[in-house]
Amino acid sequence: MQARPRLLIVDDEEQIRLFLRITLNAAGYDPIEASTGREAIEACTGKKPDLVLLDLGLPDISGIDVIRAVRVWTQLPIIVLSVRSDESDKVAALDAGANDYVQKPFGTAELLARIRASLRAHSGETADPVIEAGGLRIDIPAHEVRRDGQLVKLSPKEFDLLLVLARAAGRVCTHRHLLESVWGKLHRDDVQYLRVYVGQLREKLGDNEGVPKHIVNEPGIGYRLVV
């Protein structure tokens, strides 16, 4: 049997750590804890967690500083736990290198789904030429996209965009990350490009603009390809 993935919980609230500890334990993970930013950085080096659940509001240093410090030497997945009111903090955290975020307060099922998505993406980092996500099959070498077996014709830019989303399947991609990856650094602020291309992609993938089931909008932050 595979070893239980080790998750580092970083939160200054004792009660939140308690429930996370119990929940993650029950879900088959090995939770370890830190209550400050410094402890968290230390734990990342010393205890080699497989994933970090990070609260942005820490008493000593900000969660974003923790991400930056950790990202210097490791790509281990980081999921940010944050309240809705600070959209800009979330974007900053994602830009600093966090892989995903979960909005407080959250249910257990949602949290566990996000943890699974991040762990899977991380483990499958060795490039897979074919990505399958939510009824879509993306064949990178062949530049081919099939929806339920049907070939979908995409322009090169549309394909690139879908590829970036698919590689992060299940996780959020910030506007900036998408723009830089597809259009280059010069266009990192041209959010209207995204709106247009995501609209076209949704149409071609048979997605309903009102209630999209493949490419979901995260207001103020970015897009997520639902797995």
Partner: protein, 890 residues
């Protein structure tokens, strides 16, 4: 450039159109002469309007006994006229207030150029009409062309009859509609012969000449011109408002050269007509040379005022060479045309006089030069400005100085005669003439020269005591003496005048500087007005007030002056009018001249801040041209100062608003964080129990439930805090003070906080003998809970939290101390502010500073104090509360 300027609708043009819609509309029935049927036509049109259902009222219509006109008037609603007694004659006037109150849609007001009986609100009827228009009432009125300001002098020259009643040209430009009532001259003469034209007996003879066929033809031509210019004007306003790219010439400017002579008046009027015809903006300029006399200043002011009244900008330039200054100015101001009077001179020192017009023709070759002939009969001189007469050419002072200095020279000469020869004595008289020039000016010097010459001849040349001269040498001496004394005296006089001018201009600069310094040191609005009033009073030598305009565009009344009876209703009305109409009012003006004050509005870029009032009781002199100019300059400074204050206030209020906004943002962030944190645990625990219960050991399930309950209680405390805080800030919290045992309060608080303090050891070191405090038990418990919760939150777990207390004669001190990071001394005063959190620099801890703020509120409500005590380690919060009154056992 010019292209884009014309294509865009010009704001002025749009504004002009918009104003026409808001204000009442003015229709002018314009005629060439009395008797052409203006009133008849006006009444006919009004009857048609009445038939269409328009609310028409006759303000005033003179029928002059004409039956056809009377018949037309019949059936039109009339506003009764106001009866006034002036110089024991009963006169009737338009009742402006009644008309304003009645507020018809359309008012008929005959004879626009009429001058009102003294004691009316306005001096002129056209001002009444302005007020009606301002009130949104449409007005029909009649006007003869000779009453138009810019045609006035032409008419005078054509007919030889001076017309004193004029209306500004602006009024015809304002008119929404001008209808020309044209009647061929022969028909008019026929009507005159039939007696259909009203002519007062006294003026009949003059008017016989007036109504000659030639005159009437010329007048008709003028009326047609006025009307057609007006049509052009309409067209251009329309085209500009609708941004029609028309055949606009590159818009230049018309420059008119003005000097300090009466002839300039005619030049200005001509320039106005030229500017109107060509739709050019125009500027009247005067070039001040080094030697310009100040005596003609009043004439110059009058000329510039006329230009300004006719719609020109004015500028006073300085320079030695008039022509060059004019050309330079014209070039920099994109002039297309220069208008100059034929009689104007270029005065170059040491140069023979030369005509300015000729100079410009020779040198200003890239401009269109228009030379205006002098008025033939000199009618331009017909209206002398009062101040011209103010300085007589010979004053008694001049005579006294001349005689005094000559007599002095004679006495000294007599005394020195035994010791010196007659030629040297002549030098003494020369000295006298020089002194007279230096102290009295040119006239005194010439006079003194003549007297001294005579005296010298009489006293010191042979034969003595006669005016005849024997010795040819003496004749030479006398002639040279006279010549030298003339030249020296004149030089001295000129020197004196220049010194005086320099002194005047220095004083003026100092005055302005002093005034601006006073304004600059004012700290607030009230101070500014007081400083301005004091400064103005000193500068003008007259009592001045500065009144602020309030929100209703009226002047704030000066309470003290009113109480002293020196500021009456008329004065208040004039001040209000000046603010409302942005024009001068009160004594010495055309509006409400019965007031005892002269009011100048303080205005800048279309905004009125108030009025300057100058007290002019009947006994005092009026405001002369120089003072008036000073007043307007100071007004500009004052307006700038007012503007500055207003901007400062706006900046301050913006700052306050910004602070309020950031507080609101802090509140939201704080409340959102503090309310959500417990919810995270509760939601998490509950969802885990629902979805994973089969995998969670029973022991952990209990812990999850316990945590959820604890967090729910925390949420409840938080909400209680929020509610109490709201009630506290609204003063709705009712205190139930009694004697409370501090130990009970502390243990009650700790029991509320079991979860929070689980990781800490709490030492309660309160002696059992501590006397009770006078406090509200619930509030005290909540204060202690807040302090302990903070200690639990900020101090690392495993450390000790200590609560101790001691008593003094009248107070009890309770201290809650932890071993956490502590609060820097600099921040200790602020931690009790709402939503302030120590160490906020790192944005990590978004969170509540509510606990301490609420504790402070509660403690103060109970009559106590709270503060951060000095401690070696961690944070120590000290509460001071009053001791409960001792209970004496019965």
């Amino acid at each position: 450039m010019a292209e884009s300027d014309t294509v865009r609708p010009s704001p002025e043009a749009l504004l002009a159109e918009a104003q026409r819609h808001e204000r009442g509309r003015l229709k002018i029935f314009l005629g060439a002469a009395p008797g052409v049927g203006k009133t008849y036509e006006m009444l006919s049109v009004a009857r048609r309007k009445l038939a269409e259902g328009v609310d028409v009222a006759v303000g005033i219509v003179e029928t002059h006994g004409r039956q056809e006109t009377e018949a037309l008037l019949h059936g039109l609603p009339r506003i009764p006229r106001r009866r006034l007694t002036h110089r024991e004659r009963e006169l009737e006037e338009l009742d402006l207030d009644a008309l304003l109150e009645h507020k018809p849609r359309l008012a008929l007001v005959d004879e626009l150029a009429h001058t009102n009986v003294p004691g009316s609100r306005h001096a002129k009827r056209y001002q009444d009409v302005q007020e009606l228009l301002d009130a949104g009432i449409d007005v029909y009125t009649t006007l003869n062309v000779q009453h138009l300001e810019s045609f006035n002098d032409i008419v005078g020259r054509i007919t030889g009859v001076e017309v004193r009643e004029t209306v500004p040209d602006a009024i015809i430009e304002q008119a929404h509609d001008v209808e020309l009532i044209d009647l061929p001259p022969d028909d008019l003469i026929e009507r005159l012969r039939q007696g259909k034209v009203y002519v007062p007996d006294a003026a009949r003879r003059a008017l016989d000449h007036y109504f000659s066929r030639g005159n009437l033809l010329a007048l008709r031509e003028l009326a047609l011109r006025a009307a057609s210019e007006r049509v052009d004007d309409d067209m251009s306003v329309f085209m500009r408002a609708h941004a029609i790219a028309g055949p606009w010439p590159a818009r230049g400017r018309l420059i008119v050269c003005v000097d300090a002579t009466a002839a300039s008046e005619h030049v200005i009027r001509t320039a106005k007509r030229l500017a109107d015809q060509r739709h050019l903006p125009w500027t009247a300029i005067y070039v001040q040379t080094l030697g310009s006399a100040t005596s003609a200043r009043a004439r110059l002011d009058a000329n510039l005022a006329l230009a300004s009244q006719l719609g020109a900008d004015t500028a006073i330039l300085t320079g030695d060479r008039v022509g060059e200054v004019i050309v330079e100015y014209s070039r920099t101001h994109n002039a297309a045309q220069i208008v100059v009077g034929r009689s104007m001179d270029v005065r170059h020192r040491f140069w023979p006089r030369r005509r300015l017009a000729q100079w410009l023709l020779d040198h200003a070759t890239d401009f269109e030069i228009t030379i205006v002939a002098a008025p033939i009969n000199g009618s331009g001189d017909g209206r002398p400005v009062q101040s011209d007469r103010a300085r007589k050419w010979l004053t008694s002072r001049d005579v006294a100085l001349a005689i005094g200095f000559s007599a002095g020279a004679a006495v000294i000469g007599k005394l020195l005669e035994p010791y010196t020869d007659s030629a040297s004595l002549a030098l003494i008289f020369l000295l006298a003439a020089t002194f007279a020039g230096a102290t009295g000016g040119l006239v005194a010097s010439v006079l003194c020269s003549v007297i001294a010459f005579t005296a010298y001849n009489y006293l010191f040349t042979e034969p003595r005591y006669s005016l005849s001269v024997d010795n040819p040498q003496d004749v030479t001496t006398l002639v040279v003496f006279l010549a030298v004394s003339f030249v020296v005296g004149q030089l001295a006089a000129r020197l004196r005048r220049q010194a005086h001018d320099a002194w005047l201009s220095t004083r003026r600069v100092e005055t302005l500087f002093d005034f601006s310094r006073r304004l600059a040191t004012a700290v607030d609005d009230r101070d500014l007005l007081t400083a301005a009033a004091t400064g103005l009073s000193e500068l003008l030598g007259k009592r001045c007030v500065v009144l602020r305009a309030n929100a209703q565009h009226r002047a704030d009344p000066p309470v003290e002056l009113e109480r002293a009876g020196e500021f009456r209703d008329t004065d208040q009305a004039a001040a209000d009018w000046a603010i409302g109409h942005r024009e001068t009012a009160g004594r010495g003006t055309g509006t409400l001249p019965a007031a005892a004050w002269y009011f100048v509005p303080i205005q800048q870029s279309g905004e009125v801040f108030g009025v300057i009032g100058v007290h002019l009781p009947a006994t005092s002199d009026g405001v002369d041209a120089e003072q008036n100019r000073l007043l307007f300059t100071l007004q500009t400074q004052l307006a700038a100062a007012c503007e500055r204050f207003r901007l400062r206030e706006a900046a301050q209020s913006a700052q306050i608003q910004k602070a309020a906004e950031s507080l609101r943002a802090a509140l939201l962030a704080s409340v959102s964080h503090d309310l959500r944190t417990p919810l995270v645990s509760i939601t998490g625990a509950l969802t885990a129990l629902r979805e994973l219960s089969h995998r969670i050991p029973e022991e952990d399930q209990d812990r999850l439930l316990g945590s959820a309950i604890g967090e729910a209680q925390r949420l409840n405390r938080l909400i209680q805090n929020l509610l109490d805080m709201t009630r506290l800030s609204h003063g709705a919290l009712a205190l139930r003070a009694s004697a409370v045992d501090v130990r009970d309060a502390v243990s009650q608080a700790i029991s509320q906080l079991d979860g929070v303090l689980a990781g800490h050891q709490v030492d309660v070191l309160i002696p059992a003998t501590l006397p009770p405090v006078h406090a509200d038990a619930t509030l005290l418990g909540q204060v202690l809970a807040n302090l302990l919760e903070n200690a639990g939150k900020f101090a690392p777990s495993g450390t000790t939290v200590r609560v101790d207390a001691h008593a003094t004669a009248d107070a009890i001190y309770v201290t809650v101390a932890d071993r956490g990071p502590g609060i820097p001394a600099a921040e200790r005063g602020r931690v009790f502010d709402l939503f302030y959190r120590a160490g906020q620099r790192d944005n990590g801890t978004a969170g509540a500073g509510m606990g301490l703020a609420i504790s402070k509120g509660f403690v103060e409500a109970m009559g106590g104090k709270i503060g951060i005590a000095d401690s070696a380690e961690g944070t120590a919060v000290e509460i001071q509360l009053p001791r409960a009154p001792a209970v004496i056992p019965a």
